[in-house]
Amino acid sequence: MRIGDQFTIHRAQYFLRSAVAGLRASPVTSLVAVVTIAMALLLIGVFLLLLENMDQVLDRFGESLVVTVYLENNVAEEDVQAFQSRFSSIEGVVGTVFVSKEEALDRFRHRVGDQGGLLDGLDENPLPPSFELSLEKERSSIESLALVAQSIDGIPGVDEVSYAQEWVSGYENFLSLARVIGAALGGVLAFAALLIVANTIQLTIYARRDELDILALVGASRTFAGVPFLLEGLLQGCAGGVSAVALLYVLYELLLPYTAAGWSFLLGNVPPQFLSDAGTLLIVAVGAGLGLLGSAVALTTAKRP
């Protein structure tokens, strides 16, 4: 068992050494491959950055989204209890807050401030009592809000159910459109990058094709001869991914003063943020995948003895 592990470690070390030797032997071609991957990933990164930020707006908004259930004006005290238990038993509802007529009036006064005198002339409080239902975080999308609202609408004693303003649903539609376009563009870009990367790596392999033949002469299996080349691709891909993220960060920070207007148009008063850790990892992983796949394609298309 220990001998086997040792063997594996030695093999891995050999493969890594060979890959590094290969990269150092053709620095220019390697650099071209890294830059190619970095450019493609930079574009994908820009899309990801936009999407993540827009998602974040929706997330924040989603947290404050509630379904407001307006009750009929003359609802009895004991009915409030019944409503409360009924609403909190709805799937996905985690919080129910009762807003009495008086509280509603207070809120109104608070909001309109000095013009509070507006309502003083009325001998009766015109505002209805209501329940504010908050949903589980994962369910705070327009669809689930609508679903909850639907299940409440029509219950006797309920006057009206309202949730989310029009623009939230509009923003969400816009976002899903952007996501589809982003995914499609990203896919096309990644595919184009794959072809270019495969071609570039194929060139490096073609230039060193004799190495595969030579390795075969000393008794290397196809795997043994091929793994260092795959590893070269993987390393180039990772380097491309890391460069893309670094470049994106520099651009993002440098251009922030100039892009502020654009950001606030997209995000309102939510401040923009750089890529999340998951997004960063995704870019690097896509780079690694591109590099690996590119060299695999090049290896299988290179004629072997």
């Binding site: 040792q6 030695h10 050999y14 030797a21 150092r24 030579i214 390795l215 075969a216 000393v218 008794g219």
Partner: protein, 240 residues
């Protein structure tokens, strides 16, 4: 002349290489090798001669399984490799050292890495690889060059590296195809001495060459090919 029963006294009995009615045809109707039958014994040193196009390279390729015979059998160490599967070729090659006129070194790797690769494919532990590579490079007089890259070496030095790579895993058979074809006479002697030494240590050596002066100097057995056929098999002669 008869082959097959001509074992000289004192030589170990069973031949390590047996070629039996082997033919090789690259293009239909033409033969690079034609009905070739020969035997080589363990530890023998054999020159393979003949004009260009005689089939020397083809015979060597059959022996390290770079080509398959169109007909006949190739038996190495008692095993028929005429129909060897592609998957079994690497294992065969690990027991055979091969040296070429153009050295075939990995330009991206150093001298010691080039030699080490023959041991890496065998899965030899790194410490042992280092020791064996160093002593091998010492034998060919290149220990001071071990961190250089092949392109910074002279032709003779590069060929010594390739011989070191061919011998470092102590193969039973060493095949060399015009190993001194690119080298001047002085370096030629140097390289041939290395190959002759390997045979003294028990390795079976077969060297293809058209340098007849070389053959006279060493007085070894000589297989003469012409037009893909074995024209002559001249046994080794002692120096007088």
């Amino acid at each position: 002349m008869s082959v097959g029963t001509t074992g000289t006294a004192g030589r170990s009995s069973d031949p390590i290489i047996r070629v039996y009615h082997a033919s090789k045809s690259y293009l239909p109707g033409t033969f690079a090798l034609h009905d070739l039958t020969l035997e080589v014994h363990r530890g023998e040193f054999v020159f393979l001669t003949g004009p260009s196009g005689a089939g020397k390279t083809t015979l060597l390729k059959l022996l390290f399984s770079a080509e398959r015979p169109t007909e006949g059998q190739i038996i190495l160490r008692g095993r028929n490799i005429a129909r060897l599967s592609a998957a079994a070729v690497p294992a065969l090659r690990r027991r055979i050292g091969v040296v070429f006129q153009d050295y075939k070194l990995l330009q991206s790797r150093t001298v010691e890495e080039n030699v080490a690769v023959a041991l890496e494919v065998l899965g030899v532990p790194p410490r042992e690889i280092r020791a064996r590579v160093f002593s091998m490079l010492k034998q060919v007089g290149l220990q001071h060059r071990r961190t250089h890259h092949p392109l910074s070496l002279s032709g003779g030095e590069q060929q010594r590296v390739s011989i070191a790579r061919a011998l470092v895993n102590e193969p039973e058979i060493l095949l060399a195809d015009e190993p001194t074809g690119n080298l001047d006479p002085e370096l030629t002697i140097e390289i041939m001495d290395l190959l002759a030494n390997a045979s003294l240590r028990g390795t079976t050596v077969m060297v293809a060459t058209h340098d007849l002066g070389l053959i006279d100097r060493y007085g070894k057995r000589r297989l003469a090919l012409e037009g893909g056929r074995l024209k002559d098999d001249i046994p080794a002669h002692r120096f007088t």
